[in-house]
Amino acid sequence: MLMHYFDLAWRNIKLTPLISLLMVVAIGIGIGVTMTSLSVYHMMSADPIPQKSEQLYAVQLQTMDDGQTWNTSDDVPTQLTYIDAQYLMENSPVAKRAAMMKSGAAVHLDKADSAPFIEDVRITGRDFFSLFGLSFLHGEAWTQAQSDQAAPVAVISEDLAERLFQRSDVLGESIYLDERSYEVIGVTQSWQPTIKFYDVNNGPFQQAEHIFIPFSHIEAYQLHSWGNTNAWKNEETRSYAQFLNSEMIWLQFWVEINSQSQLKSYQQFLMDHMLEQQKLGRFNRKELDYNLKTVNEWLGYNQVIDPDNKILVGLSFMFLAVCLANILGMLLAKFLKRAPDAGVRRALGASKRQIFYQHLVEVALLGFLGSLVGILLAQLGLIGIRETMSIYVGIAKMDWVMLLISPVIAILACLLAGLFPAWVVCKTSPATHLKVQ
């Protein structure tokens, strides 16, 4: 019977091409607008590292004196000082942890025909790769010894390897970062989380870095952050050594914690560190404070979803409601015009329910057709967003979840709009339409 309803629905759609087209376009526009903003919202709010988001914690320490404020909800700075980051990295009670920051360099091959270009560089601990699940195509991360000696070694992504050498297996090759020569010891597979959750300083939708070098290089080569460096205290920081020992806040820190007991001991570790530092005159405050936030807590805390996008999603759904009211009106007109047919069918033995279903199937079919138009329009909308906002390249797109959910939303919305008209048709007494046509 269902197939028969589909057959009837398709015929009816063909019989009233204009009004059907209008309805499909109306649903299409509604779905197109809604899916455009919803897709962006979906990508913005999607878990960027679902397999580990509950084990990864961002570490924050309240380093500021009492009375100082920060632009976070709890006034705790989002980044760490070099002293703290360095200590947490070297004395960690848990295995996987990494301090990190974004820097950058002119990348070239020291050949006449190699034009230098600018690339972001992530300066971090060797655990960065296993923490965030980057996999190596060739080679591996630097060793502890290499890190201790600040050896000039680098891990690069396959994309950069291709760009520089037109191949991915480039272990042992030299690349130049500024005037320093580095040996490539590892090549990672392309890696681009939808949200750059591990460092939201320059906006959460930046591209991931393609070059990774050991954390020890910061001190060894006097490197500066290309992210944010903030001060809350007036300090003499003219020399680099002074800068490193200052209360300047400029480093991110992540740990992997796999159990409740590990979490406990890590919390204790942080408290101990702060108490120890208090003796040295730092952490000048009544109550010590720190944060350990999982990836999703961290993203919420940093408010990565643009409020503009939330507004757009809200308005789009209201827009969809207008489209539905519109469709409802058209369906009512269309179905009432065909009510005599329903009357004949009733006289021939169709039950109310059968008439009701027949009309709902037609509505669902219209919804499905509309969703096709909608998906097409949403793609155009997303292209428009990417053109307008270059950093949304990674998130202004439809993943398969959104692609599948579009027809579901469209069909459900249409069924909602179709309930009333279908009910009106099926409850009409069949006798009214039979006497004279």
């Binding site: 047919d341 004949v344 006289a347 021939l348 169709a350 039950s351 109310k352 006798a431 006497k435 046509q437």
Partner: protein, 240 residues
């Protein structure tokens, strides 16, 4: 076959109440062919709608083939209609978007009959009404008489035991009307019970039993025994 006792039907609108039928009593036996006449607005159509289970009634009792119709819900009434009753309308009421085959198929589908059996029955019915080979035509490609024959075929497809006809020849010229009437008579001979509403005295005269509805009641009926020649109805039917 059909037994109505003290059936009343009250139409209620915002402004007025209309008593369409009151204390309406009628018994129709298996195999009968009855013509129902009566002035416009007397309640003929209401009677037909109630008899065909298209409308509920306000009071009284209606037994169809031993079943108390008043106790059925809408779905059961639909099923009963589908299985036992065939309709023929003055306006044919063919579904314009479906071709002949599909039109006739409609009641069979609602009965859940398999495609193969549907095909057999539809073809048989089309043949019965003399329209074999035109299964793929659309209703508007046919003349009025042909359309009514399709409507009859559709009514027959479900092999109903009870046929309700509402002015089946009202929209046809006299030649066509006679053809349709002949078809109905043949069906009756084959055992189908037929109730036909008409205001054509000529047609009414051809049926063995006539009843007249006046002011929502059976005003007068004359029963003819088989073999006897029909008597002229003592009261001339009022033209609608």
């Amino acid at each position: 076959m059909l037994n109505m006792q003290n059936i009343g039907k009250l139409y209620q609108t915002e402004m007025v109440q209309t008593q369409a039928l009151r204390e309406f009593n009628l018994t129709v036996n298996e195999g009968e062919f009855i013509a129902v006449t009566g002035p416009s607005g007397s309640g003929k159509t209401t009677f037909l709608n109630i008899a065909g289970l298209l409308e509920p009634y306000s009071s009284g009792q209606y037994m169809l083939d031993g079943i108390d119709v008043g106790k059925l819900n809408d779905n059961q009434r639909s099923d009963l209609r589908n299985q036992k009753i065939g309709f023929i309308f003055q306006g044919f009421n063919l579904i314009p978007d479906l071709n002949l085959f599909e039109n006739i198929e409609v009641p069979l589908r609602y009965r859940g009959i398999k495609a193969k059996e549907r095909k057999r029955r539809v073809e048989h019915c089309l043949e019965q009404v003399g329209l074999a080979g035109r299964a793929r035509h659309l209703p508007q490609q046919l003349s009025g008489g042909q359309q009514q024959r399709v409507a009859i075929a559709r009514a027959l497809a479900g092999e109903p035991r009870f046929l309700l006809a509402d002015e089946p020849t009202g929209n046809l010229d006299s030649l066509m009307a006679r053809q349709v009437m002949t078809l109905l008579e043949e069906l009756n001979q084959a055992g189908t019970t037929i109730v036909m509403v008409t205001h054509d005295p000529e047609l009414a005269r051809r049926t063995p039993r006539n009843i007249q509805i006046v002011d929502g009641q059976v005003a007068d009926f004359t029963l003819y025994q088989g073999g006897q020649s029909p008597r002229v109805n003592p009261q001339k039917p009022v033209e609608a």
